[in-house]
C-alpha cells in the first residue's frame, strides 16, 4: 500500500508500523469515577468496521510521525492522512 504522508508524500506502507483504531488517541481521564470501565472499553473494544476506518500508523522507518489514516478496510482505498498530533489536538488533547 501507499500512504501519502502529509509531510513526505507517498511512502510504502512497509515503512510503517500499524497500531490500530484511532480511538486509541482518546485515552480516558484517570480520575473519572468510571475510569476502570472507560479504560477497559478504550483498551479492548473495537468498532472494527467493514468500510471506512480511522487508524494509527507509525512511520517507524521514516520520520517517526504517528499518522491517522482513513482507509477502507474492504478496498484498502485511503482517503485521508493526517498527523496524529494534529488530530489529537483537534480532539482536545493537550498536556
Amino acid at each position: 500500500m501507499i500512504i501519502h504522508h502529509p509531510l513526505l508524500g507517498p511512502r510504502d506502507s512497509a515503512e510503517f508500523t500499524y497500531l490500530g483504531d484511532a480511538n486509541l488517541i482518546d485515552r480516558p481521564d484517570w480520575q473519572d469515577k468510571k475510569a476502570a470501565d472507560k479504560f477497559y472499553e478504550y483498551q479492548y473494544l473495537r468498532n472494527n468496521p467493514a468500510g471506512e476506518h480511522q487508524e494509527l500508523w507509525y512511520h517507524e522507518a521514516g520520520d517517526r510521525s504517528w499518522l491517522v489514516v482513513t482507509r477502507n478496510t474492504v478496498t484498502h482505498e485511503i482517503t485521508k492522512v493526517e498527523l496524529a498530533r494534529d488530530v489529537a489536538r483537534a480532539r482536545g488533547r493537550s498536556k
Partner: protein, 192 residues
C-alpha cells in the same frame, strides 16, 4: 589532551573504500553529527537561532541544505517533524552539539550524535543501478540535496543525494555498519 585511538565504524584505524566497475563505495568516518529538535512553539526563535548557529536555515521536509565551513561542508537535513540533523567535519566540529547548544539554547533540544551513525558514500555513474536494488526510495528521481529516511537490507538509514545520479550518502546506525557495507558491495557486484 587524551591519547585514545578511535576506530572507524567498520572497526578499522582508517576508512575503507572499494570500487566495483564504475561505482565507488567509501566509508566516511570524519564527520560530526548533532540533532536539533525544536522546542514546543519556538518556531521563529529556533529558525533564527539555528541560522545563527550554522549559517543556514533548517530546510523543509525531504531536503537538506549545505554551507562551506573551513575546508569542508556543513549540512543540515530534515529528519522528522521539527527535527534536523547537522553534519559537519569532525576535526573542526567534534563538539558540534555543544557548539549548537550554546547558540540555540532553549529553542531546541540538541543531542550529540557524533558516533551514532556511519556514513557511506556511493559515487560514480551507476549509483542508481545499485541503489534501486537496495532501497524503495526513488534514487533515480532524487535531485541534489534531496534526503529521505529509508530501509536498506532491513537497516533503517538516511539516503542523501549530494549530486543527482552520481553521488549519494547512506547514513546508517553505526552498529550496523558492517552489514550495510556488505550489502552495498554485494549489490554493486550483482547489479553492475
Amino acid at each position: 589532551m587524551h591519547d585514545l585511538v578511535p576506530l572507524t565504524p567498520l572497526g578499522g584505524d582508517s576508512a575503507q573504500s572499494e570500487t566495483i566497475r564504475n561505482v565507488t563505495i567509501s566509508e566516511m568516518p570524519d564527520f560530526a553529527y548533532a540533532s536539533m529538535a525544536m522546542r514546543l512553539g519556538r518556531k521563529t526563535g529556533f529558525q533564527r537561532a539555528a541560522k545563527k548557529a550554522t549559517g543556514i536555515s533548517p530546510p523543509p521536509p525531504g531536503e537538506s541544505a549545505a554551507i562551506k565551513v573551513g575546508k569542508g561542508m556543513l549540512t543540515i537535513f530534515w529528519t522528522g517533524a521539527d527535527q534536523w540533523m547537522v553534519e559537519a567535519p569532525y576535526a573542526s566540529h567534534f563538539d558540534l552539539a555543544a557548539q549548537l547548544g550554546s547558540t540555540v539554547k532553549d529553542n531546541a533540544s540538541v543531542t550529540e550524535q557524533n558516533d551514532g551513525w556511519a556514513r557511506f558514500d556511493l559515487t560514480g555513474d551507476d549509483c542508481v543501478s545499485v541503489l534501486e536494488r537496495l532501497s524503495a526510495a526513488d534514487s533515480a528521481g532524487m535531485q541534489a540535496g534531496a534526503v529521505t529516511r529509508t530501509t536498506i537490507e532491513h537497516l533503517g538509514c538516511f539516503l542523501l543525494c549530494r549530486k543527482a545520479a552520481t553521488h549519494f550518502s547512506v547514513i546508517c546506525p553505526r552498529s550496523g555498519a558492517a552489514s550495510m557495507y556488505h550489502a552495498l558491495l554485494t549489490m554493486a557486484q550483482s547489479a553492475l
